[in-house]
Symmetry: C2
Subunit: 326 residues, 2 copies
Amino acid sequence: MAATKYAIGVDLGGTKILAAVVDNHGNVLGSAKKSTQAEKGVEAVIKRIVKAAEEALDDANVKKDHIAAIGVGAPGLIDSARGVVLNLTNLPGWRNVELARHLRSWHPATVVISNDVRMAAIGEHRKGAGRGAHSMVVVFVGTGIGGGIILDDRPWVGFRSSAGEVGHMIIAADGPFAIGNGIRGGIEALASRSAIERDLRAAIAAGRKSILPELMREKETDTITSSILAKAVSKNDALTMEVMRRAARYLGLHAASLINILDPEVLIYGGGVIESLGEWLLSQIREVAFEHALNKHHLNKVRIVEAELGDRAGVIGAALVALDAV
Amino acid sequence: MAATKYAIGVDLGGTKILAAVVDNHGNVLGSAKKSTQAEKGVEAVIKRIVKAAEEALDDANVKKDHIAAIGVGAPGLIDSARGVVLNLTNLPGWRNVELARHLRSWHPATVVISNDVRMAAIGEHRKGAGRGAHSMVVVFVGTGIGGGIILDDRPWVGFRSSAGEVGHMIIAADGPFAIGNGIRGGIEALASRSAIERDLRAAIAAGRKSILPELMREKETDTITSSILAKAVSKNDALTMEVMRRAARYLGLHAASLINILDPEVLIYGGGVIESLGEWLLSQIREVAFEHALNKHHLNKVRIVEAELGDRAGVIGAALVALDAV
């Protein structure tokens, strides 16, 4: 029997860092969460990554020298072969940072760095809703839309390692621009939480009635969060229902496109919007997808299911990818 | 040195049957073309396939018993594992036809049957514009839009063998319906020759001036063929330019979506519309694609090139796939 191996998985985000000690079966033995404090600069953030890793070790009661590998998912462009972060979204100063070298000076293990959503997609494949399936597309619907593609049990990364940008498929060519640097008419510009919030605010500014302003006051927030969206849907707020149904339709058309070109075994949906709205949203996505998928009369329909790991998908995926490289 | 092997490749179409004798290097040694006469029924069409194969053998001066395999590409749903044609577009009566068994009763060789555009995509990969590249998407723009996806040097066929339907990616969700049984807002409904013809006819019916009616009278045809489109573009016909530029923009957005999710090494364009309009169309597709591809500043841009094999792609692909199975 092979001995159990341990890795640290890190999910580096713009606002928080999640670290976990994970074994080679994908079990999380301990974890820690810290604020990123990205504004303090690269060096300070690296120190906080190390701190989070040490706290996760403590939580898991695993000794540092039992750790064989460290995997990091980061939100941006990564040169995985060299372990260099090329450029991160929402983390100022992160350009050409030799993160693998820095982490190895803390602990001389195998270090693997890759894109955060790609790591999370791998987590869902290996230990979440994609267990046992050989091909899948994972779509995370949150502030933005990202995801990953697994084909023949491996992530499809493409020729320049930039494949899997499922948020940037163009679904409504003459539709709205994305918030940020996204693509006009891309699914992120149509159905992300940011896009939904943009449409809701525009309608309210134009005089449409809605309980959303009241819900935001109650929760003392300026943001139309995913949980506020869910609350408004549960209360049958007409404006929210209308905007969410439009977003669901676009997500269903996006799913149909993915099915028509990739014919995956499973489509997995995660992220804050899905976590808050769950089956109410998924059932609409399924309906539109099957209606527009080419082989709609196929008996053996693609499974469209919810992700299972929540925000642990990233650390589990990162740890398992890193252990693969040992 | 391995001995040269020979196969017959067949491209079964709604109006014509192309057969060729092809060696294991993808060289065409001889070929024959016959009308399909689909209206005469399944048995008559199978006889014409055999006739075309015999004429190709004669043209190549290769003996029937030197043929190790027969590959057939057919326009519709195929159960490749059983060698059964499930359902063909534009060929009445082709439901659950055991084509492999019929062909083996003519010649007891290995018979492989698959979708026609998938066979043509494999032809372009192995012997055409995709030689040497390991991942590619092939897009044929003709009366409809079809194609195929090659990843890691193999066709990606998907979980239910229905992947690669690149003509049914939704690009303009609220756009027009396809002619036939296509999908609303799918690229086939926006940029196929049928879609272009639909838009041109509507504009002419609404009173727009164009030289197209005159060109059709000259060519004695009721159809706005690809070569008539090319003629009208060469004469700077304002309406044709406008409609073609819109189609080119949609093809460019479609290419951007493909690049963003699959990041292939090469994108290959073939089919009648591309053959007639060539670089004039491709340069517009490239410009829009690079503008909307996520990694647009990437130095190593995806190559977007024209297919090289014309209507021989299908027979070459079919023959090589069949030889692989020997």
